[in-house]
Amino acid sequence: MLKINDLHASVDDKEILRGINLTVNAGEVHAIMGPNGSGKSTLASVIAGKEEFEVTKGSVELDGEDLEDDAPEERAHKGIFLSFQYPVEIPGVSVTNFMKTAINESRKARGLEDMPANEMLKLIREKSELLEIDRKFLSRSLNEGFSGGEKKRNEIFQMAMLEPKLAILDETDSGLDIDALRIVANGVNKLKSKDNAVIVITHYQRLLEHIVPDFVHVLHNGKIVKSGGKELAHELEEKGYDWLKQEQAV
């Protein structure tokens, strides 16, 4: 589904990604771990098409198509979803209104009419139940005055509404207490299918107890330095990242 080939990317002429290779197939869950500043969030932003990052070499392909010329919204229409580490506030725009706009814009891109209001309501009801979200929450302004946990849960609610092909969860576990973590993880697990894929970016092994990855990759200095199964996450939890850094140095 997703194929990243020798990807190099910079911001303000500073190279952050230095040759990433990664293949994600439908039905798989990949975890990307690594110390601060290793390029995890940059990788997520580059896949989503954020303009401030310049791809200097290599490519990102979705279903065999190079995404290079696609604007972020076009990538979204093709099924890429990014759960933000720091979701932004949009005062005066309710969660419901935001979702309605997002869904209808995607439909428009596919040549479909707006989603009928009754279908929209049904979808909202279904997905908010799945994520144990109080529907009053949905009339509040997007992320304005939300707690850290509420923001993250709202990201996963949006993911459930948009039903992406590839979901990238960037540090979704940060700021979540144990109950919220369980709810979010349950949501992600329920949305998983043989047709979609998830990339979980995280610092800690904690989230991976709930969302069990098929593959774990360690990112360091803009490169994947080690890949393995879910047991790699346990190893990292025990030993930290230093041993990998040393291994790299040698």
Partner: protein
């Protein structure tokens, strides 16, 4: 005045000839330029009573002594008052004109705003073929209004039919010598609206709908007078979301509202005059004086959505004379390209327990300048007066400006005044967030702007809130590269 209208016409024709222009002098056009004869001629054309003519002359003489104000934060070339024609009867539909003759760009804008073909034709002076619906609707309205004793008609008609009411109230809130442009308007106003709601009557409809059907184009020097008698209520909407490419460069309107004891007036404006092109050429100068007076327990609420005009200078104000009276001002002002707006309000607290609320939302884009200017004045006898002001500015890009000039004068220790102001910029992070959810940049901006303006949009009558929302989107189109 010794001479008759005929003589006057003759004189004007000769003058016209003297100046060397050729104008096809139909009976409904006056030559360019302004002098006392023109003022008298306007009055005569409207068959006005002598008191009205004298009133105009008085205003004209005062205007001649006045200086054009320069304190506003706007820069423009001053109009040449002798190059303006001060009277021309409303344009009639041109039987040979079709929509194919209209600028396609304008038609595209109409389409986006969802304006019906009939209405488009009306706006462009194209003859409307199917009028059955609007005529019958208007007739129903007129009947309903008449049953309640509500008077709603062009002010020129009111001067003829209800001279006592007009004489009693006109110029009491905005005196004819109030300011340069109000004096000019008082001298040369050609038409406008008059509305009177009798005691205890609640006007059963938004006067907007009626207005739109009956009023084709708005004049250059419009004069509006709304009187809500004791315990009555009226909601009035002026303007139209449809863009008007008026060739008149100078618009100087006067609006006076009078809310007697326990009465309420809600006055909403959508202003979308031609703002000039992207290079800042052309566009309307909109210099307006709007003021309302509240007696005991009365309430006046101004709501405005200002997106048009090259230069706007406008401060809808409330004089809270009566005890327990309430004044409100809700405003959205959008400026793009080279537009300049200096707008706000004055809340003058005279009575006890008077309250006022000001919510101003300024949105600047392009190279435009957007200023809020407001005065909250608490006079010495206004015990327990309260004011809450909130001025928010939203900037798009790096070349525009937002300015806030709040003036607060308090002469009574019991007053409570709150002022909040914020300035924010549409951030790249916000745009990227929307993009990532599949929302393209223009749409994302529209969404953010609508969210920012929501508190004010909510104050508009329902039917117009939707149109105003679309108007905001269109006004800011192409403002982010």
């Amino acid at each position: 005045m010794a001479y008759t209208e005929e003589e006057l016409k003759k004189e004007l024709e000769t003058k016209e000839y003297e100046y060397g222009f050729y104008t096809d002098l139909k009976s409904d056009t006056l030559p360019k330029g302004l002098n006392e004869d023109i003022v008298v001629a306007i009055s005569k054309k409207k068959n006005e009573p002598q008191w009205m003519t004298d009133w105009r002359i008085d205003a004209f003489r005062a205007w001649q002594e006045m200086e054009e104000p320069e304190w506003a934060n706007v820069h423009y070339e001053k109009p040449d008052f002798q190059a303006i024609s001060y009277y021309s009867a409303p344009k009639k539909a041109d039987p040979n004109k079709t929509l194919n003759d209209v600028d396609p760009e304008l038609l595209e804008m109409y389409r986006k705003l969802g304006i019906s073909v009939d209405e488009q034709k009306k706006l462009q002076n194209v003859a409307v073929d199917i009028v059955v619906d609007s005529v019958s609707v208007a007739t129903t309205f007129q009947k309903t209004l008449a049953e309640k004793g509500i008077i709603f008609m062009p002010i020129s008609e009111a001067i003829q039919k209800h001279p006592d009411l007009v004489k009693k109230y006109m110029g009491t809130i905005v005196p004819k010598k109030d300011n340069f442009y109000a004096a000019l308007n008082s001298a040369v106003f050609t038409d406008g609206s008059f509305c009177y709601i009798p005691k205890g009557v609640r006007c059963p409809m938004e006067l907007s709908t009626y207005f739109r059907i009956n009023e084709g184009g708005t004049g250059q020097f419009e004069r509006t007078l709304v009187v809500a008698d004791k315990g009555s209520y009226v909601s009035y909407l002026e303007g139209c979301t449809a863009p008007s490419r008026d060739e008149n460069q100078l618009h100087a309107a006067v609006v006076e509202l009078i809310a007697l004891d326990d009465a309420e007036i809600k006055y909403s404006t959508v202003q979308n005059w031609y703002p000039g092109n992207k290079e800042g050429k052309g566009g309307v100068y909109n210099f307006v004086t709007k003021r309302g007076l509240c007696e005991n327990n009365a309430k006046i609420s101004w709501t405005q959505v200002e997106t048009g005009s090259a230069v706007t200078w406008k401060y809808p104000s409330c004089i809270l004379k009566g005890d327990n009276s309430i004044g409100e001002f809700y405003s959205i002002a959008v400026t793009n390209n080279y537009q300049q707006a200096d707008t706000g309000t004055k809340m003058v607290h005279l009575g006890k327990n008077t309250r006022s609320t000001i919510i101003s939302k300024g949105i600047s884009a392009g190279k435009s300048q957007n200023s809020y200017r407001g005065l909250v004045q608490i006079n010495s006898r206004a015990e327990n007066a309260r004011n809450f002001s909130q001025c928010d500015s939203l900037l798009m890009g790096n070349e525009c400006g937002a300015h806030t000039f709040p003036y607060i004068e308090v002469k009574n220790k019991t007053a409570q005044i709150e002022h909040e102001a914020t300035t924010s910029k549409i951030g790249e992070d916000q745009i990227f967030y929307c993009n990532q959810r599949g929302i393209e940049t223009e749409k994302a901006i529209a969404l953010i702007v609508n969210g920012f303006s929501k508190e004010v949009l909510n104050k508009l009558p329902m039917e117009f809130a939707v149109e105003a929302q679309k108007l905001l989107e269109i006004s800011l189109e192409g403002s982010v590269g």
